[in-house]
């Protein structure tokens, strides 16, 4: 047993506690902006440190906690997402959220939950990590105390999230009941297509789909995304979703890999439904966060489809896509945050004239949205290509066609935003953008383009990570 493998998690926890302490120590008239920067620096440091951990494939505590490349890949994804979120949220938090110390600390605890999820190799650890993340997010969604929407969103998220946890737990209990084990690899050994197993698997899938906001378990997402503070919305889209995917990949490709012929059909239908619903409903949205919520539903459908391949290529596609989606989302939410800070509204109309007021942000938004849509040469295209080659190889050509068609339709509403940005400005107010937010914008822009044009390195890394499962 090697405690060193847990360095990242411990560091995150310590960082979170430090933030709480600093929050108390810092005098009241201070803006608490420094807390955000401390957190960001700390996360960055952990991210950099975690680079050294590649190649390890060890487990801690009787194989219940595994540190392999896949886990590490996801952890770095979460760290990067948190880092970007912290950077662009400083001004937002200062402006709209009172309890900034608690905010940053809880965000770090959520990060810890995600990291645990990525490494969890048994159902209990997995569950507890997921609940840590979820409960923190329930609180954070309702953290914008002056906003009625925020509390409503928090309430909805909590109720539905708890209900979905119950469903998943119920499913887990059946899986445990049939196999007599909670460890994934042992479940895999004993799993057969018995009714109890299928019932448990189905309910677990349903519970996970809730976290992934897969149709028809998606209905909370738009409301919660809309009501939550923008950085939290971003984290929900980037982090919580990716963490659920980490769990999904492990559970379905290790524990339930022998039952693939059973779940594949269901998963393909769920993926297809997500693509369709996410995209056709997004067309109607006038609120940028709500629109991005529907878009993220569709994106989840795309990532989910990679599971169907059930091989390295498929997982590689999922990992690749999760990363590029993370960057695109960071860019889009960073710009949304800037706009909200500017005019206090999340409505898409508020973006009008952005291209003249701040060309950089307009370009970042455009590139991010189109990366989500999957237009070359943005990263989203290559991501879809990896996913779809993997699943088409398994014969899901219908899903490939559907996916491509829906992604092209999605351009419609992304374009509406782009059009708004390039139309005439409503007001002539000076548009001030904080440096840290600009950093995020530029990072996401460069990442979206670089990954799209030269996907080699990331693909190699994703491949490396995906191989950890086999």
């Amino acid at each position: 047993m090697n405690i060193a493998l847990l360095t990242s998690e411990i560091a995150v926890l310590v960082l979170g506690l430090l933030i709480i302490i600093f929050d108390v120590l810092i005098p009241r008239q201070e803006t608490h902006r420094s807390l955000g920067y401390i957190a960001a620096c700390g996360v960055l440091a952990i991210l950099v440190h975690s680079m050294t951990q590649y190649g390890a494939a060890a487990t801690v505590y009787q194989g219940l906690f595994v540190v392999d490349n896949l886990a590490l890949f996801f952890k770095q994804l979460f760290l990067a997402a948190t880092f970007l979120t912290l950077l662009f949220s400083v001004e937002y938090v200062e402006k709209w959220i009172q309890n900034s110390g608690e905010f940053y600390a809880l965000l770090l605890f959520a990060l810890l939950g995600m990291m645990v999820m990525a490494s969890a190799n048994d159902l209990i650890t997995m569950f507890i990590g997921m609940e840590l993340m979820a409960i923190v997010f329930y609180a954070l969604v309702g953290f914008e105390l002056r906003s009625k929407k925020s509390s409503e969103a928090g309430m909805k998220y909590l109720m539905l999230g708890a209900a979905s946890s119950a469903i998943m737990l119920y499913g887990m209990s059946w899986v445990y009941g049939f196999t007599g084990s909670l460890v994934l690899s042992q479940i895999a050994v004993k799993a057969t297509a018995s009714p109890a197993m299928l019932l448990g698997m189905g309910l677990m899938l349903a519970g996970l789909c809730f976290k992934l906001s897969i149709v028809p378990f998606h209905m909370w997402a738009p409301d919660v995304y809309e009501g939550a503070p923008t950085p939290i919305t971003a984290m929900l889209a980037m982090g919580s979703k990716a963490a659920a995917f980490a769990v999904l990949i492990r559970v379905f490709l290790i524990a339930f890999s022998d039952l693939q012929e059973y779940w594949a059909t269901i998963v393909s239908l769920l993926a297809a439904a997500s693509m369709i619903v996410g995209i056709v409903v997004a067309i109607w949205q006038t609120n940028i966060k709500r629109m991005l919520a529907y878009s993220s539903i569709a994106q989840a459908g795309y990532i989910l489809s990679g599971l169907l391949a059930g091989n390295v290529a498929g997982v590689k596609g999922m990992l690749f896509y999760a990363v590029l989606y993370m960057f695109a989302t960071a860019g889009a939410f960073a710009v949304s945050t800037a706009v909200k800070n500017h005019n206090g509204s999340d409505e898409i109309e508020g973006f009008s004239g952005l291209a003249q007021k701040s060309p950089l942000l307009a370009v970042v938004m455009t590139i991010s949205l189109l990366s989500m849509a999957g237009l070359p040469p943005m990263a989203g295209f290559v991501g879809k290509l990896y996913l779809f080659t993997a699943i088409a190889d398994k014969g899901y050509l219908w899903l490939v066609i559907l996916g491509f068609v829906m992604s092209m339709i999605s351009v419609y509403y992304y374009m509406l935003v782009v059009k708004t940005m390039y139309s005439k400005a409503r007001d002539q107010q000076e548009f001030v953008v904080r440096g840290s937010l600009q950093v995020v914008a530029v990072i996401s822009l460069l990442a979206s383009l670089f990954i799209g044009i030269y996907p080699g390195p990331l693909a190699k890394l994703a491949n490396f990570a995906a191989q950890a499962l086999w």
């Binding site: 709480i20 219940l64 906690f65 009172q98 608690e102 605890f109 507890i128 609940e131 309702g142 928090g154």
Partner: protein, 170 residues
């Protein structure tokens, strides 16, 4: 243990559990619901005893009855009385028949599953010293989960405080 007594005890606890659960969801007054919920938890802890999980039965009574149910009662009291009376009806426009159907189907499916699954019963005897075994498990194998649960409770506390405290009216 006596076979008959065991069976009788099971049916009593089961009946208490299910009946009070039904009461929880059908009672109109939230306070009644809360109290029935506590009763239900008692029934459940009785079932735990029958399943030879004494420690957990105790925890159930302590945590659920002692903490959660009380919190519910408090929560109900704290919100104004007017919303308590006559407002715990079922939602008027909720398709309660359909929901009933779904719930019924759910039970039916589950019963089918129970009936058709070839369970791998273990013939091993039950562990007698459950608290010790549980303690060892939690502090060794499930160490990380334990720690995470601790963080979870901390986070929940922080979150609950911030949320409940509300906006500072400066």
């Amino acid at each position: 243990m006596n076979e008959w007594a065991y069976t009788a005890a099971f049916f009593i606890f089961a009946a208490v559990t299910v009946a009070s659960a039904v009461g929880v969801v059908t009672k109109n007054d939230l306070v009644h619901s809360s109290l029935l919920l506590a009763l239900c938890f008692v029934g459940v802890s009785g079932l735990y005893v029958l399943l030879q999980a004494d420690f957990l039965a105790a925890v159930q009574l302590l945590v659920y009855n002692g903490a959660i149910a009380i919190v519910f009662v408090l929560g109900t009291m704290l919100t104004r009385r007017s919303i308590r009376h006559g407002t715990n009806h079922s939602e008027a426009d909720a398709p309660s028949r359909l929901i009933g159907l779904i719930s019924g189907l759910f039970v039916a499916v589950t019963l089918g599953v129970i009936a058709t699954t070839p369970w791998n019963y273990s013939s091993a005897g039950a562990v007698q010293d459950t608290p010790a075994v549980l303690g060892r498990l939690i502090l060794t194998d499930y160490m990380i989960a334990m720690e995470v649960a601790a963080v979870l409770l901390l986070a929940a506390m922080i979150g609950a405080i911030v949320l409940a405290k509300g906006v500072d009216e400066e």
